[in-house]
Amino acid sequence: MDWFPGAGPLLLTAKLAAITVIGLLIVGTPLAWWLALGVQQNKSRWHGYVRVVVEALVALPLVLPPTVLGFYLLMAMGANGTLGQWWIGLTGEPLAFSFTGLVIASMIYSLPFVVQPLSNAFQSMGRDWMEAAWSLGANRWQTWLRVVVPHCRAGFLTATVLGFAHTLGEFGVVLMVGGNIPDETRVVSIAVYDLVESMSYGAAHKLSLILLGFSFLILILVYGFNRRWSRL
């Protein structure tokens, strides 16, 4: 890892973004499903209200300044926070300033970027396709794998890529709860900040350029796929 100061942070960031996205797909898919289609089964007014509140909560990280989110997370996950103390009891270390803490913070921070595309995809698919599959004798699992996932693949792709890319670009939250610890919480954005602060402009340039190229490539890929798939 010594050949380039950015190698450690790059791998750490990729790992963080990948784990965050997988976690978010697991948590976010049922949530998006419920937001898009779940409520229609029970059309009571009460459910409508809950839905609006949940939708607003999901979108909150889009609007909140990362410093606000980071400050609350630091308070919750630090040595004096409820979550932090529980974690200290479990592992002996506070949740803040650890990789696990970063994963939790990133999942909250990138939640809307995964849930919203999925929710939109489910909504535009509607129930008709699934009902057709059921009436043809497919069970829930078959319906999910053969109808829903292929139908909503553009939504899944967008959710995956946006969730991944948004976690790559995370800065304010990590700065608050991460603590800039090499191989643990020093992600690329923090490493660039750190290199600039300590006057290593050459390395900062290199690392920034890699991130710029990678982000551009990711977006080209996602728009390219979306274009192809929307024509099918």
Partner: protein, 268 residues
């Protein structure tokens, strides 16, 4: 189909996670419990102004001891807050005396370890104008400069010293606009990038720069000394390696290195 490849790619990235992570942390975060220091890197929190010098010191410390030291840098204020929230640092090299003193008072650091390791010096730098120290200093009064960068006096020790200097120079209400960097590292970056034509930076940064233009080394008669203190944090109170690092920091050999990097020496 394509989705399957995509998921495969994500799993591949997971598999490529830094091997060093696993190797260094052993059984993961659970091994960080107090009292167990074997195989763990020594974690040093360093105020940004001292970070380039700290890297040099750490390199020679590592060579002499075979130990692994990791450096985390940020502004002293941010590091102070993180330490109070339980950040896993063993040693704290602050840019001031206030925060280490507070940490000792509040029970987060070992009182006996609290010592000055360097005194910071200020330099007024104008990269675009050539001349000697006095012409450089006169630029402050000339009206030629529209904007001057300095570190934020409320959070950065170098900013506090800059404000004292400006007051001492009779420039409490200067004709130029003051641009505040969050810390001295950002202040230097403002000037280096050409965004601001002049500013007050740390002498250690001036040493590392290309030293273009003119510079005035602000004497210590203009501001209270920027005493930078280092403390051993409580979690490392039984960590022999951390104590060894502090001894190394205060050793005459390292102190000479610190002086050569643009600081005045600590308490003798």
């Amino acid at each position: 189909m394509t989705l399957r490849y995509l998921l495969g790619g994500v799993i591949l990235i997971l598999g490529l996670s830094p091997e060093s992570l696993v190797a260094k942390n052993g059984a993961g975060t659970s091994s960080h419990k107090q009292g167990n220091h074997e195989g763990l890197p020594l974690r040093v929190a360093v105020a940004s102004n001292f970070s380039p010098t700290a890297h040099k010191i750490v390199t020679s410390f590592e060579a002499g001891t075979n130990a692994k030291v990791s450096i985390s840098s940020a502004s002293s204020g941010k590091l102070y807050a993180q330490i109070k929230q339980g950040a896993p640092f063993d040693v704290f090299l602050s840019a001031d005396a206030i925060r280490p003193d507070l940490l000792v008072k509040e029970g987060y650091a070992v009182a006996a370890s609290n010592r000055v390791y360097a005194h910071g010096r200020l330099v007024f730098w104008v990269p675009g104008v050539s001349g000697n120290e006095s012409t450089c200093r006169q630029l402050l009064y000339s009206g030629q400069l529209t904007r001057v960068a300095m570190a934020n006096p409320d959070v950065a020790p170098y900013g506090y010293a800059t404000r004292q200097t400006l007051t001492a120079l009779g420039l409490k209400n200067p004709v130029f606009t003051l641009i505040f960097g969050e810390n001295i590292g950002q202040t230097f970056a403002f000037i280096h990038a050409g965004g601001v034509a002049a500013g007050f930076i740390a002498a250690s940064q001036w040493q590392l720069s290309n030293r273009s233009g003119c510079a005035w080394e602000v004497g210590t008669q203009y501001h209270a000394p920027i005493a930078q203190r280092a403390v051993l944090l409580n979690r490392a109170s039984n960590n022999a390696l951390a104590r060894r690092f502090l001894d190394f920091l205060h050793s005459s050999k390292t102190q000479a290195k610190i002086k050569a990097s643009g600081y005045l020496l600590g308490d003798q």
